[in-house]
């Protein structure tokens, strides 16, 4: 065999086989969503951190503009759509998911020819404040009802008043869904969905945890891809089955000694959303230094609150869990999560993506960086970019920073 053949075989061996199944599930999901009107199903657009379980229980198809934004970014269609949004009058300072999605709606733009038309919208502000205005714009554009679930920011603790406030809204949310669908909530079904949601979260976390093994069978770049199901179809049997399959594959890789990055020497943690249009470049760049991004704060954000959810009391426990997600809490709490991840994955460094789009995620990163360096003695690297808008990505600057950071780690 030639060297090239051996290299190809090695590469093939490292590929995650479940990817095909995942693509199939996502394709089926989007076909169902786009043909919902014909099958008599309702479609709701919902924010990535919103309580989707209630929609699943009511047989409403959830659609995620943020997941759409990520697909637009990964298909390198972000700049074009962002520019269109700017022509429509939206500021370049606005989140690129919002810009891409707002611009895609009237022209059915993006890789899947636009999202299916919503019957109503559900907006939960546990992930940012931008979604409020973004969803108001879309509700006006499609002339459909909008439900807003307001989750107060947690500075120190979640007060009983705040908890009651979110629980009350959850009941309003159920009433809203009953009015929209014209049927009553089936609480037995809701209980089953809650159970599946928690099971899915636990399996997803178990998948991520396999990267604590040295060498890691998967990287954060793989997690960015496989994340889609826990966001979009949480609370379904499909998601549980898929993550069980993925977990089995990861465990087998560990047994077979298959590492995602050959010669893994340096283990790094990623902070913030991916740079969707440059995941391949970044992944290869780090791998060229024998560095593996073994974990990240983003893909573990969903499962990060799973211990707070009690499937037997989803309405009340879910209210607390949804309010407690990674970017709806104080820097001190974020640091605790970050420190736990650094310890769990036993990393040599932290790579922070200062994401021009995501203000709640990026604001405070310099403080977190300082806390990590001073309290944990872990070197950090800051790179400035954007999750979808490639105009904010300067390749040679970022390359120099990564190279210099790796030179520092190596000496």
């Amino acid at each position: 065999m030639t060297e090239q053949n051996i290299a190809d075989l090695e590469k093939e061996k490292r590929k995650i086989k479940s990817v095909a199944k995942m693509k199939e599930i996502m394709t089926t999901y989007y076909i169902e969503a786009k043909t919902a009107a014909e099958s008599g199903k309702k479609v709701a657009w919902i924010t990535s951190g919103g309580p989707v379980e209630f929609l699943i229980a009511m047989d409403v198809i959830p659609v995620y503009p943020e997941n759409h934004g990520a697909m637009i970014g990964a298909s390198k269609m972000g700049v074009d759509l962002c520019e269109k949004a700017e022509e429509m009058g939206y500021s370049r300072d606005l989140c690129s998911y919002a810009r891409a999605d707002i611009a895609a709606a009237p022209i059915n733009g993006g890789p899947i020819g636009g999202l299916p038309r919503p019957d109503f919208l559900v907006c939960c502000n546990n992930i940012c404040g931008t979604v409020l205005k973004w969803y108001e714009v879309m509700a006006r554009y499609f002339d459909v009802p909008l439900f807003i679930l307001d989750t107060p920011f947690i500075h120190k603790e979640f007060s009983p008043a705040a908890k009651k406030y979110v629980i009350d809204q959850t009941y309003e949310y159920i009433a809203f869904l009953e009015a929209q669908t014209g049927k009553k909530m089936d609480y037995d079904r809701m209980h089953e969905v809650s159970r599946l949601a928690v099971e899915g979260l636990r399996l997803w976390q178990a998948v991520l945890d396999t990267a604590a093994h040295k060498p890691a069978p998967m990287t954060a770049f793989d997690a960015f891809f496989h994340l889609a199901l826990i966001v979009t179809l949480r609370g379904t049997q499909t998601t549980v089955d898929y993550y069980r399959q993925l977990l089995a594959e990861m465990e087998q890789r560990i047994k077979d000694g298959i590492a995602m990055v050959p010669n893994e020497k340096y283990r790094l943690l990623w902070d913030n959303l991916p740079v969707w249009y440059r995941t391949k470049w970044l992944s290869e760049k780090f791998a060229s230094h024998d560095a593996c991004l073994v974990g990240d704060t983003y893909t573990s954000a969903w499962s990060g609150v799973m211990d707070l959810i009690d499937p037997d009391n989803f309405i009340e426990s879910g209210a607390v869990a949804y309010s407690s997600v990674y970017i709806n809490v104080s820097l001190d709490k974020m640091f605790d999560t970050l420190a736990a991840l650094i310890r769990k994955y036993d990393v040599d460094g932290l790579v922070m993506h200062s994401n021009r789009s995501c203000k709640p995620y990026s604001f405070g990163q310099y403080d977190l960086q300082k806390m990590v360096m001073e309290r944990l003695g872990i070197p950090t690297l800051m790179i400035e970019a954007d999750m979808v808008d490639a105009r904010s990505f300067s390749e040679s600057q970022i390359e120099t920073r990564i190279d210099a950071f790796m030179e520092k780690l190596k000496t």
């Binding site: 600057q397 920073r401 190279d403 210099a404 520092k408």
Partner: protein, 255 residues
């Protein structure tokens, strides 16, 4: 052992040839649009000047933005590491480096061996870089070399509030039309650049003694403005502009 370091920056290409810790010569050229050719040319000119043949050079390390386009280099190393090594070689007491080049400014904290402890670079913006000063020199119709001495004659630095090169330029033009003196405007420009660099330096944590490297270190006005902002004296070596190339040549000894 004779080694060479080549630093291809956005505006200039620099070369240094060393023989076991002794600088045999250095050279600076404009990079132009062909970085690959600039790397070859700057070294050719230098070895001719010091009367040496290419065969005598045992190892070459390239650095700077064009580091990967120097095809005859044995290794490419980032300018962060090279500036740390170069500054340590010139003055072992140095613990902090402010490097201001053509398209970026960076701050580097090093330990007693010249190893990089931490660094920060400007983001995608030319404010506080050599290019920023070039644009301002053009607007003021002053030769860039005169910037330093002129700014020292200012009676009060003008206030340039914009951090964007393009907007700062229009601010400068409006100051000119208001009759503000060139000296004061130039001092204001230096202060605007220094304040931006100082914010970055404070983020990393300033540990004296501080050295300034890069082409802008030749500008005494920029150095003084930075000293005021950083509240510490700054050492400038006669090799400031070729510090990265010197560091690269030293690293080449380890190959």
């Amino acid at each position: 052992m004779i080694t060479a370091g080549i630093d291809i920056g956005s505006i200039t290409a620099k070369a240094a040839v060393l023989n076991d810790g002794k600088i045999l010569g250095t050279r600076v050229l404009f990079t132009g649009y062909n970085a690959k050719q600039a790397g070859r040319m700057v070294l050719d000119e230098l070895i001719r000047e010091i009367d040496m043949s290419m065969d005598a050079i045992n190892a070459v390390v390239s650095t700077g933005y064009g580091r990967n386009s120097v095809d005859f280099a044995d290794k490419a190393v980032t300018e962060i590491t090279c500036h740390g090594t170069g500054a340590h070689f010139i003055d072992p007491e140095i613990r902090f480096i402010v490097d201001v080049g053509g398209q970026d400014s960076k701050v580097i904290r090093i330990d007693e061996t010249g190893r990089v402890l931490d660094f920060a670079m400007n983001d995608k913006c030319a404010a506080g870089t050599g290019r920023f000063l070039e644009v301002m020199a053009r607007a003021l119709e002053v030769d860039l070399d005169a910037f330093g001495p002129l700014s020292l004659q200012a009676d009060a630095a003008s206030k340039i509030s914009s951090i964007c090169t393009v907007f700062a330029e229009s601010e400068v033009i409006s100051l000119i039309s208001k009759g503000e003196t060139r000296e004061n405007i130039i001092a204001g420009i230096h202060d605007a650049a220094a304040s931006r660099i100082s914010a970055m330096a404070r983020r990393v944590g300033i540990v004296p003694p501080v050295m300034m490297t890069g082409g802008v270190a030749k500008n005494i006005g920029a150095v003084r403005a930075l000293e005021t902002r950083l509240e510490t004296p700054i050492r400038v070596s006669p090799h400031a502009q070729v510090n990265g190339a010197i560091g690269a040549a030293i690293l080449a000894r380890k190959l």
